[in-house]
């Protein structure tokens, strides 16, 4: 059984997934960071495939992409790193990235090789769901790898149902308009969107992403979703890191801690 499914079978609440960019801050930190994250108590990791033109990302992730590419990061190297990660790390692992590098690698070959390396899921935000269904869905199923789709407040209900039917593992709820890493607090727009998703009675669990940066926004998201994804805030930490292990431990601990209620 796919590790993502196992995770959600075991636990339905407060899932913490952490996104970071492969090959950043150092080329081989991809592996080290995964180990530290598991030790610190993250539930799942999403490793970003660096791309020169990340149109859905804000400045923090853009910078990490540029640095990773300058470090010499490639998709092939990332698959080697995933194999290394899998020697010790048991939590679900997803690869997330823009379509072009995957197209150059070969989409079908990538599904197979990523699964073989030990990845459980893929998130390709600019892969149209219609094209996935027509050309690649069968291959993904054969490889035993989930492809996770994004839904946003601007997606119509019918569209959300389509994305939910194609998505494997979970549904990635981008809970606010905007690119990554540009907001710090959870808003009523996000609340309303997650409530709307609950009413749709979807087949997949829902993880909320974009705008999750601290314990307060993490727990706010967890009240209405199965968990949340933190990305830019974690990459900011890595950007200024001098002791990866200690800082990652502290970061995860702080995120998990219940926030101090307002006014106290």
């Amino acid at each position: 059984m796919n590790r993502i499914d196992k995770l959600f079978q075991r636990r339905e609440k407060n899932i913490l997934s952490v996104f970071y960019t492969a090959g950043f801050p150092g080329l081989n930190d991809t592996v080290t960071i995964a180990r530290h994250l598991e030790a610190a108590g993250a539930d799942m990791i999403e490793i970003g495939i660096p791309f020169s033109d990340p149109i859905a990302d804000g400045p923090v992730i853009q910078r990490s992409n540029n640095r990773a590419i300058a470090n010499g990061m490639t998709l092939k190297l990332l698959l080697d790193q995933v194999k290394q990660i899998r020697q010790t790390v048991t939590m679900p692992l997803l690869l997330m990235g823009y379509l072009n590098p995957v197209l150059q690698y070969g989409v079908e070959k990538f599904f197979t090789d990523a699964a073989e390396a030990g990845a459980d899921g893929l998130i390709l935000p600019d892969l149209p769901p219609e094209e996935f269904e027509l050309k690649y869905r069968k291959k993904a199923m054969q490889a035993g790898i989930h492809v996770v789709f994004l839904v946003t407040p601007s997606s119509a209900d019918e569209r959300i149902r389509l994305l939910d039917s194609l998505s494997g593992g979970f549904l990635y709820a981008v809970s606010l308009s905007g690119v990554t890493g540009t907001r710090t607090s959870f808003t009523t727009e996000q609340d309303e969107f997650l409530k709307r998703l609950q009413k749709l009675k979807l087949k997949n669990p829902v993880l909320a992403g974009f705008g999750i940066s601290n314990s307060e926004s993490f727990h706010a998201a967890c009240r209405l979703a199965n968990g949340a994804i933190v990305g830019s805030a974690f990459i900011s930490l890595l950007e200024n890191s001098h002791n990866l292990q200690a800082q990652i431990e502290g970061f995860i601990h702080n995120l998990r801690s219940l926030p101090v209620p307002e006014g106290k």
């Binding site: 020169s52 033109d53 149109i55 859905a56 540029n66 379509l99 197209l103 601007s154």
Partner: protein
């Protein structure tokens, strides 16, 4: 063989809408409504009235007698340089701002490289009283100061983009990011036949007025609407798309696109995407893209800031794949010399982009009855500094 867009938004295998879900509603709104809006009679009336009275259309089809004598053919110049703001770009921005109004949008954003599209967008925003934000790579802001000043004078906000290499592709990234964050009130006026469907088809339709006029004007001057050659420069490819559009199904009309070979096609400093690119996805569409083996987009080079885009419109990728159009290239030096030659032979200073189209004239092996139409897409006032090296 069809050269028109398919129901699903593809030209052959190129095109489509490869966008993150955050842009889905905007693109879906455009996709489902653009044809109804632009074919509506009141829209057409308003569009053509602005093209006529505001942009100065129809632009002349000028018989270039001295160039014709020099190359031994009948060479006509489609004078898009005489459009208001100095280039064909205004055809598209008029169309798109009218469309944005029909969609109820209240703000406009745009990207620009050399600044021609930025100026054309700022111009129509001033005309319609709509706020306008133009994203422009910091490098381009510095080397295209006169156009930055024009945009500001017209009331636009110019935002210098520092991400990536700080040029056109980065400005496009930033405009897309802004659109993702402001999906409801904002329309993004893309400047070329690139981006997710329906932009390539929509922009081609707005620019197709160029070839519609050529047909009519050639009929008056030559007795039939068909030239032997239509020649246009290609960066993203909007002026070429407009000049080719109404000849696409007339297979006996040879369509020739000219890309920028920079310092030489194989020098590593070129912008000839069709010659050097591989299939990929950039800015929401599948097309030919200049990239590394690992799929990272590379920064193109050309002396002309309007041609250095690492992708190309999916229509052109299809015309290239099917052989319907022939694509050639010209180096910086060939383009500069051709621009100088046209200036002194015909008294017209072409934009450096356009100069690339003229540069292939010696390579066409023309005979005296050949009718050649060159799309003179823009005027060269902005390029005086580059031309100055030659004088």
């Amino acid at each position: 063989m069809t050269y028109k867009i398919s129901e699903g938004g593809f030209y052959g295998e190129y095109g489509g809408a490869y966008i993150p879900e955050m842009l889905w509603r905007n693109i879906e709104e455009l996709r489902t409504r653009y044809m109804d809006i632009i074919q509506d009679e009141s829209f057409q009336r308003r569009f053509y009235s602005l093209l006529k009275d505001f942009a100065g259309r129809p632009t002349p089809l000028y018989f270039a007698s001295r160039l014709s004598a020099q190359y031994g053919a009948r060479i006509y110049l489609k004078r898009e340089d005489l459009c208001h703001t100095g280039a064909h770009k205004i055809n598209n921005t008029i169309g798109q701002i009218l469309l944005a109004q029909k969609l109820g949008k209240t703000r406009i954003i745009a990207e620009t490289g050399a600044g021609q599209h930025g100026v054309a967008t700022a111009t129509v925003c001033a005309l319609m009283g709509m706020p306008c934000t133009v994203y422009m790579g910091k490098t381009d802001v510095e080397r295209q100061q006169p156009n930055v000043a024009r945009m500001k004078l017209l009331g636009a906000e110019v935002i210098p983009v520092t991400s990536g290499n700080a040029t056109l592709k980065d400005a496009t990234n930033e405009a897309l990011r802004h659109w993702i964050a402001h999906p409801l009130d904002t329309h993004y006026i893309i400047g070329s036949v690139v981006g997710p469907h329906p932009f390539p088809d929509m922009v081609a339709r707005f620019q197709s007025v160029i070839s519609a006029e050529i047909r009519q004007q050639l009929t008056e001057k030559e007795g039939n609407p068909y030239p032997d050659y239509v020649v246009a420069c290609v960066g993203g490819g909007s002026n070429a798309a407009g000049a080719f559009y109404h000849f696409l199904d007339d297979e006996h009309v040879q369509l020739i696109g000219v890309e920028a070979a920079g310092k030489g096609l194989q020098s590593g400093h070129a912008a000839a995407t069709l010659a050097l690119g591989k299939p990929g996805v950039l800015h929401g569409c599948k097309t030919l893209v200049m990239q590394t083996a690992d799929g990272q987009i590379t920064e193109p080079y050309s002396v002309s800031a309007g041609l250095d885009y690492p992708g190309v419109g999916p229509l052109h990728a299809h015309l290239f794949a099917t052989g319907r159009a022939k694509f050639m290239s010209a180096t910086d030096e060939e383009a500069l010399r051709a621009g100088l030659e046209v200036s002194r032979t015909e008294g017209i200073i072409p934009a450096l982009e356009t100069a690339h189209a003229f540069a292939i004239l010696p390579k066409l092996n023309l005979s005296k009855d050949d009718v050649v139409v060159i799309n003179l897409s823009g005027r060269g006032d902005k390029d005086l500094q580059a031309y100055n090296q030659l004088i």
